[in-house]
């Protein structure tokens, strides 16, 4: 228990958060339970994305591929191939990990803007397949009627699915937390901070970049699985680059330097989307402004804002974590 010394506030906070999330359906109208389900799924996607983005410092604009592949595995597995629940989940995880490995290998030699463009092209290639292989994917129309019959739920309806999503998301968050503290996770952070030093210390930088992409792809695909079952529908939009850009801004808004920041970003942006859509049809304008204003005024995200205020008031020097939004162009590495 020595490891927990001085961490009791965190432990209590986490337990309270989990308790609150579990009890939520009893506290709010069922509509908000659906909204919360969506938030949790996107939050899980954002946490998975942040393994590459925040931890690894690699600017990916192609993460929709993992998410959408997970989503399409469910859509096709349920409606077309009559797969069992276990097979669907295993195939989705395998696809996420495999495509993650492909991303990792292909991006070995790129950084900065080139990495961004390369992941964008990879994501769009996969989107193009889903969009144009109409005979399999039904193209732009998407796949509807994805029932939840296979999902091992206790009870029926939105409430039970909420608890299922929460359980999977908490287990994933726990695993990702453990991963971020593991020696491998630490090494990934090291490759972000200084690839040359890590290489000099004998770490195989490329290997750790691959691992980051594999882990990130795996959990992103799992989030995609939950997403499709949540909407009972999947379309090429889940694979489109706009989804990649969305998860990027979610992570930045929350704070990509911290573990739970991206989840906070998901809660904020999805709530904002819901609230804005009540009043106006111009959600895309608001979302665009969120992109612009975040970059100008909140580059370290909401969590970073707290840190910034504390730094302003504190007399002692707080170590400044390099912000992930500042570019690490290819120059410094080569």
């Amino acid at each position: 228990m020595a490891a927990l010394r001085g961490r009791w506030p965190t432990v209590v906070g986490v337990l309270a958060g989990v308790g609150l999330l579990t009890a939520l359906p009893a506290l709010v109208p069922s509509f908000y339970v659906t909204l919360s389900t969506r938030i949790i799924v996107i939050a899980m996607f954002a946490l998975a994305f942040n393994v590459v983005f925040g931890m690894g410092g690699m600017h990916s604009l192609g993460h929709a591929a993992f998410f959408g592949l997970g989503g399409y595995t469910v859509g096709l597995g349920v409606t077309r191939w009559d797969w069992s629940f276990t097979v669907i989940v295993l195939v989705a995880l395998a696809l996420g990990a495999f495509v993650g490995l492909a991303y990792g290998i292909l991006t070995q030699r790129t950084n900065g803007i080139y990495l961004l463009l390369l992941t964008l092209a990879l994501g769009q290639a996969i989107w193009g397949l889903a969009f144009q292989q109409v005979e399999i994917t039904r193209g732009d129309n998407g796949i509807s009627g994805v029932t939840r019959e296979l999902v091992p739920l206790v009870g029926t309806g939105a409430l039970s699915y909420y608890h299922f999503v929460l359980l999977v998301a908490l287990a994933s968050t726990g695993s990702l937390w453990w991963f971020s503290l593991s020696p491998v996770g630490r090494a990934i952070v090291g490759t972000r901070e200084s690839p040359t030093r890590m290489a000099a210390l004998g770490f195989r930088v490329g290997l750790y970049r691959n691992i980051a992409f594999v882990v990130s792809g795996l959990f992103s695909a799992l989030a995609g699985v939950l997403y499709t079952w949540h909407h009972r529908f999947v379309s090429p939009d889940a694979l489109l680059w706009e989804m990649s850009a969305f998860i990027l801004i979610v992570a930045i808004v929350g704070g990509a330097n911290t573990f739970l920041g991206p989840a906070l970003g998901a809660a904020v942006i999805i709530s904002l989307e819901f609230w804005v859509s009540l009043h106006t049809q111009r959600w895309m304008t608001v979302l665009g402004l969120v992109y612009v204003l975040t970059i100008l005024f909140l580059p370290e995200g909401i969590v970073g804002l707290g840190g910034r205020l504390r730094r302003r008031h504190a007399s002692v020097d707080v170590p400044v974590i390099p912000e992930p939004t500042a570019s690490r162009s290819g120059r410094s590495h080569e």
Partner: protein
């Protein structure tokens, strides 16, 4: 034979349009290392402003001039007030310009509606030319000619004029250029404005080819990005060669394997970026 030739001409004219859009992108990237993902929105805005002005003035050339000037000035302001604040921060530029593109496209949707529109062809280029058994619209041929003219002018501007020398000096060593009295920030603004104006021109002229609708800004942007990347970020010559090449690949991809057309555009680009990030004619990163 005639159908093959018409496919080639179609591909070349679409490629010319792509070059017009990509030239602005590659210019700003070459000079400022700034990737402007709102470029497609400027393309779209140019077309819509021209259509609006055309309805008011009834003069095609006046409408085109107005659209090019308005969007060019918008580009200058965009650079000065937004892009300039995130210079040399690539991720920030990307996110900021994506946001700006969302705002512009959504406002276009709010003001002009979501129906696809088609700017008219330039007056005097309505008919088509017949060579043997091949009939081809003058308008599409004119695009190829315009792309050639723009390419040659840009090449001459960059390689043979004083302004071009200043641009090249700023690209090579910004600090040194500033210390010998070149006002690099002003140059940045001017180049960005010129790039935006080029996008607007492509939107007016090329919009008559592709049609315009909110949401279409990203399909043209992504193709222009492909052209820019294949040609090598920052290389105008590369963008010209790649533009025509991508135009041809797109045309033949669509007719040969229609259900893989998008894949055949993006997958090779991804491979090229993985193996040779600087593209065909891009400069080596220093």
């Amino acid at each position: 034979m005639a159908s093959l030739l018409s496919h080639v001409l179609n591909g070349l004219s679409f490629g010319s349009l792509l070059f017009l859009v990509a030239s602005g992108l590659t210019l700003t990237f070459g000079l400022m290392r700034a990737l402007n993902l709102a470029h497609g929105a400027f393309f779209l805005l140019g077309g819509y402003v021209a259509l609006d002005l055309l309805g008011r003035t009834d003069s095609y050339w006046l409408a085109m001039l107005g659209a090019v000037v308005v969007v060019g000035l918008l580009g200058v302001a965009f650079e000065r007030f937004l892009v300039h604040r995130v210079l040399h921060r690539e991720l920030a530029q990307v996110v900021l310009t994506i946001g700006a593109a969302f705002v512009i496209a959504d406002q276009i949707l709010a003001y002009w509606g979501g129906r696809p529109v088609m700017p008219p062809r330039p007056p005097g280029l309505g008919g088509s030319v017949t060579i043997g058994d091949l009939t081809f619209p003058w308008f599409r041929l004119s695009l190829i000619v315009i792309a050639l003219v723009v390419f040659v002018s840009l090449w001459l501007l960059i390689n043979r004029t004083r302004v071009g020398a200043m641009i090249r000096a700023s690209v090579d060593d910004e600090e040194m250029a500033r210390s010998v009295g070149i006002r690099v920030p002003v140059l940045f603004m001017a180049v960005f404005g010129a790039g935006s104006a080029l996008a607007a021109f492509a939107g007016v002229w090329g919009g008559a080819f592709t049609g315009l609708e909110p949401g279409g800004e990203f399909s043209i942007l992504l193709l222009a990005l492909v052209v820019t990347v294949v040609g090598g970020l920052g290389s105008v010559t590369g963008a010209f060669v790649a533009g025509l090449g991508v135009g041809l690949v797109d045309e033949f991809g669509k007719s040969l394997f229609p259900s893989f057309a998008l894949f055949t555009i993006y997958a090779p680009v991804a491979l090229l970026l993985a193996i040779r990030p600087r593209g065909l004619l891009g400069r080596v990163e220093r």
